[in-house]
Symmetry: C2
């Protein structure tokens, strides 16, 4: 039965890649919803979160079942425990995309993002998309080079996040308080989305090297 | 050696109660720092986060070690897996208190919270404190009645959070954009702090009943 067991382990990794793809698609649609006031894109993210939640529950159930039935040791144990953690991060990425889509829906038919901030938010969306793609590759191929690249992309995200606040606090800002609240929340959601992807990459690092990556610095702006 | 093993399991629960107490103390000091522009309180939260991180790592290492050495099954396995998840939530509660303390420090010697919002934020701090205390009791005594109470407290938190936004969006709001950003972020940190406590309570529910509590609804404002 060891073969079935290893097939089951591999299936968990495949499902992790699938759920990461769903989170990536959610953040892309959420960005379109936000910038283009695209209600259909917003609704697709909102209704699509159920698929992410359900895949999350399924991966978790499969991993727990393997733990209980096979009592794995050493590296197999590490794979399962790490998978349980990664899937929690990825499910949360889906939630954060959902929050962005809800902001977009709340402001429809206007865009929640004032025109002078649209380029910055577009770039945040693109970085998030790139990070999510790399996250899939890191999971699928245990690619530590890609994992390190992903961390550098996250630095780009942090700079974009700071730029958002500089614009809001500029004397020329005329967008008002409601808009400042929307931008502040969306900025935070994008930043946390990428933090969770970094966390996934670091867990893969742990899986491959057996060494803990340094603690994630969640920069609070 | 089964006795040592069960002592080790109990020690994990005791440490979970300890780390929850540290998170509770962090949120109390963070609230004082924020409302009273108390720099010393802010610094104590910021430096104290290291103790929370280090206890987190220790609990995690102990749980993983038990998993690897004892290959537990059934309810013991469930206790360990649930502990791993709970400690991640509680460590995050510490981070959120840290973020609030950093906002307080950034605005010192002013308070980041305008006077008209101080009563609401004070109440948010008190609810967070209460939720944290109940969280400890839920962990220590597996008290499902207390777990249900904690969820009702979280509804109070959500209402307070909505009240913050109503005030910010009121025509009379004169606090400006910088202040609106601070209030928006701190509101989010308090809300997430309590969401994580609810998550801990639900995990205890799962531990006791073997049934998953319904998915946590992270209300994005």
């Amino acid at each position: 039965m060891r073969d079935q067991y290893h097939d089951d382990l591999d299936a968990i990794t495949t499902s992790l890649v699938d759920i990461t793809r769903l989170a990536g698609s959610a953040i892309n649609n959420a960005t379109s919803a936000l910038l283009d006031a695209d209600l259909q894109a917003a609704e697709s993210v909102i209704s699509g979160d159920k698929a992410i939640d359900s895949l999350y529950e399924q991966i978790e159930a499969n991993a727990l079942d393997l733990l209980a039935r096979q009592q794995p040791v050493a590296s197999d144990l590490r794979v399962i425990i790490t998978s349980l953690r990664m899937v929690a991060d990825i499910e949360r990425m889906g939630d954060l995309a959902l929050h962005i889509a809800k902001v977009a829906r709340r402001r429809y038919p206007a865009s929640a993002i004032p025109v002078e901030l649209q380029p910055t938010v577009l770039e945040m969306g693109q970085v998030a998309q790139r990070i999510c793609k790399k996250c899939s590759s890191v999971i699928a191929g245990r690619d530590l080079v890609m994992a390190a690249e992903l961390e550098r992309d996250d630095d780009v995200m942090d700079n974009l996040h700071r730029r958002l606040f500089s614009t809001l606090l500029d004397d020329h800002w005329q967008g008002g308080v409601e808009s400042a609240i929307d931008v502040t929340l969306c900025g935070r959601y994008y930043e946390r989305f990428c933090d969770h992807a970094v966390s996934v990459a670091r867990r893969v690092h742990f899986l491959v090297t057996g060494e803990r990556a340094p603690a994630l610095d969640d920069a609070a702006v």
